[in-house]
Subunit: 492 residues, 2 copies
């Protein structure tokens, strides 16, 4: 095997990078903090996008596209939002380059092409979208507006990591406008459910649904709902957010509507998004020391078949049988690749597809063929089975479903065994350091205490779970009374 | 009818804008030169994208994603390319905003957050991609690389028009790397065929396939192949380009490969792209004074059904029958909407869907229903027909194909009747001014003459058609000898 992956126990962070790079998902680029999403990674993103896009459309949303630039005066209109993102903004100040007179062949920014007003490269699109919605909304008949956008956004992060935190990333952002608070809150919750369903049933990623504390809320939101996942190193990862924005953006951009009684009121808003960050979550939730592990329902490739040739005579015989099998699998909607590249040995290929996390690998040799069977190996458990070729289509279809379920179950039991209830600060710190994972603990409900806990422990409140049981207790830090436990963790 | 469209004869340019805005394809934005693509327009783009994406994948390409920013030093590496785009570059110079101390609540660019090296917002991605390919290519075994990217790009245009010329637009850009000149040229031509096939068979847009003259070539290309279409005002529009880049970018970024004999050589390149500009072409090739006209194969909506209620009793009866019809149409893969909004009258709806260019409209009243028929109107010819409900699925499926073909035929005969052969400068100018369209004329082959003709007439060489007949003649401007006619036109 030519590509060696660092093991999790040796260096978890390097293991992650190795999987991304050597598994062919992404690469570093010449631009600080920006990555190149390679074809295998992009194909995964396309599969994720297609599922989400279908769900968005089924829930009544349409796609549209808004400008990548936000004039500074619009950007600063909603003050909290502006303040929250100001430190991460890439800013376009000029619209032309010119030849450097002192250094021919080189270009310099043309000082005469300075923009009158700087343009912010969108870190999120509320400002540009609500400045547009203002023109689209007059009366309740124009509502709701249910729009989603697939786009790139830029947030200038100081410390970046492939997929998890990059200066540019791809995402979708839903932006909806409603005639009432109730309807907007309902939309916010509905989209959280869409995300949770997607994470659990397609990414095989168990998530906790909850609400953020004020400190962790999206800048400009009244409430941020989220799904939180747990990675194999016991750190949490925010996998998606859905914001109830109240009337904040409508007020900032003066977007009012006339209701049925012709009374004017500000419009209610939501926004919600998931990004290529989810790919980082997928990698860290499911992979092992041999490589990636793709959930079958969104895997770029579900099945690979490797021939084990024995002499030139065997080539056409095996190839012909494999074609039959591929046809059978494709007729069931299964994606399959035949890797009969004669430059690589079967053992190398096995390792390569394990690294890439292809859920099912088949090896086809002469002896097997004569016996009417084929060797089927599953990526997750590494189990191998001789399977009758006559039954192969049904077998593989079922196996893919089994793998999907098994991956979810494994991640779920890891997650469930890493939610720890603690009642004292000592237990809290010890659990954080030793066992890791989510910690369900009492908190007095104040931003100050949350901030203090973060300073002392580097843990944050990941969420207040939905339908959280109410329970009297004492804050782990201050001892002040508390009405419920919230979930803490160190997080990506 | 509430929305009035300016007629073509009155003001062609205003007619075009009216269609885009009132037809719901796009809207102006708060950012100079950038547009908002509205849901109806974006749905059209999605349909176009899906067809193209399938064709790209069928021809062996994979999608990937590269950073939106190009560091200036990379951008200037291929000099011709850099020179060609330098004047249109939006440039990021800073990465942070901060509160204006003199004006609380306002933000200013933080002078301390100046980038060491400016970042160009990609006007095209050759530079960033070839700086990446350098790391991916060592030997002929790494070739070819066949990658496409769907992305936004920014070209700072002084005069902008919705879809046709916007500061930001959406496009796809293919970037391939090959081991030989022949293979790269073959790829360039293959993708031109893909574009031509898409334009003609999906957009119903007849195109001339050709090669650009040196003056009109893509900056950094050895040859630019193109498809050229004709708009209803007799102006040409470049609908897609496919560039043979030679070894220019490989040399600029030092990308070499070892061939089978272990000899090092520079890699050969192509790039090819089409953009949201195609939507402008679609609008101007097919629409009329009543609105847009969508080719059925890519129409966001193919069929709309409008009920003609007669009293409350008729509502459930008509609704039930329409549900049956919709089910029948959908079972044939036809997209259909039932517009039973009771806030609008049928006449208003008819005008609205004509404006939006929905290919087929059905109107269902009580009398029709009792007779077992429904009124079917086609958008292109405005013809109406009573059609038996029992046959409706097959009838509409065939009608959509007929409309697709008829739209192509109409555009084709307009285009064909607007290719004029002229042999003198007087005829040339007269044809340009009076008849308009493509002009097939002799040209002496020099860039100087081409430039002079452009100055005098505002016409450019749109292309030298592929398989152009060789024919001795004299240049219309200089009288110098010429070996073939080329196609001139004024163009968008």
């Amino acid at each position: 095997m030519s590509k060696v992956i660092t093991s999790r126990s040796e260096d978890y962070s390097q293991w992650y990078n190795d999987l991304i790079i050597k598994g062919g998902l992404a690469d570093y680029s010449a631009v600080r903090g920006c990555m190149v999403i390679k074809p295998y990674g992009y194909s995964l993103w396309e599969n994720m996008r297609d599922v989400l896009d279908r769900k968005f459309k089924e829930t009544g949303h349409q796609n549209a596209y808004f400008p990548i630039f936000v004039p500074k005066s619009l950007f600063e209109a909603e003050e909290k939002n502006a303040e929250g993102f100001a430190k991460e903004c890439a800013v376009v100040t000029h619209y032309r380059l010119k030849t450097d007179e002192n250094n021919k062949g080189k270009l310099i920014v043309d000082p005469e092409a300075k923009l009158e007003e700087e343009l912010v490269v969108r870190p999120t699109s509320e400002a540009i979208i609500w400045s547009t919605y203002k023109n689209w909304i007059q009366s309740y008949r124009d509502l709701p507006i249910l729009i989603n956008q697939w786009a790139n956004v830029v947030r200038w992060e100081m410390r970046t990591r492939l997929f998890l935190r990059t200066a540019e990333f791809l995402w979708q952002e839903g932006h909806t406008a409603h005639a009432s608070r109730e309807e907007a809150v309902e939309e916010t919750k509905k989209m959280l459910e869409v995300y949770a369903d997607f994470a659990e049933n397609f990414m095989a990623l168990p998530v906790v649904k909850g609400v953020k504390s004020a400190n962790e809320r999206f800048a400009g939101a009244e409430d941020t709902y989220c799904i939180e996942a747990l990675m194999q190193d016991g750190k949490a990862l925010q996998a998606g957010t859905s914001h109830f924005l109240g009337q904040n953006f409508a007020k900032a951009f003066d977007v009012k509507f006339a209701d049925k009684d012709n009374q004017l009121d500000y419009v209610w808003a939501t926004s919600w998004g998931v990004s290529t960050r989810l790919i980082g979550a997928l990698v860290m939730a499911h992979s092992d020391d041999d490589g990636l592990m793709m959930p079958p329902r969104i895997a770029p490739l579900q099945v690979v078949i490797v021939p084990i040739y024995k002499g030139a005579d065997s080539i056409p015989v095996i190839d012909a049988k494999v074609q039959e099998i591929m046809q059978e699998l494709r007729s069931k909607g299964i994606s399959v690749k035949y890797d009969n590249d004669d430059n690589a040995r079967p053992g190398w290929k096995f390792a390569e597809y394990e690294m890439k996390g292809v859920p099912v690998r088949m090896a086809m040799g002469m002896r097997d063929m004569e016996n009417g069977v084929v060797e089927v190996a599953r990526r997750d458990t590494k189990e191998k089975q001789q399977v009758s070729i006559a039954d192969i289509g049904d077998y593989v279809a079922q196996l893919l479903e089994d793998i999907q379920q098994a991956m979810y179950n494994r991640a779920r039991s890891f997650r469930d065994s890493h939610i720890t209830r603690v009642d004292t600060w000592e237990e809290f710190m010890e659990t954080l350091e030793q066992k890791t994972g989510f910690i369900a603990a009492h908190w007095d409900g104040t931003p100050e205490t949350e901030e203090k806990i973060k300073e002392l422990s580097k843990a944050t409140i990941r969420c207040i779970p939905l339908d959280n049981p109410q329970e009297a207790g004492k804050c782990i830090l201050t001892g002040n009374p508390s009405t419920q436990r919230v979930l803490f963790a160190r997080a990506y």
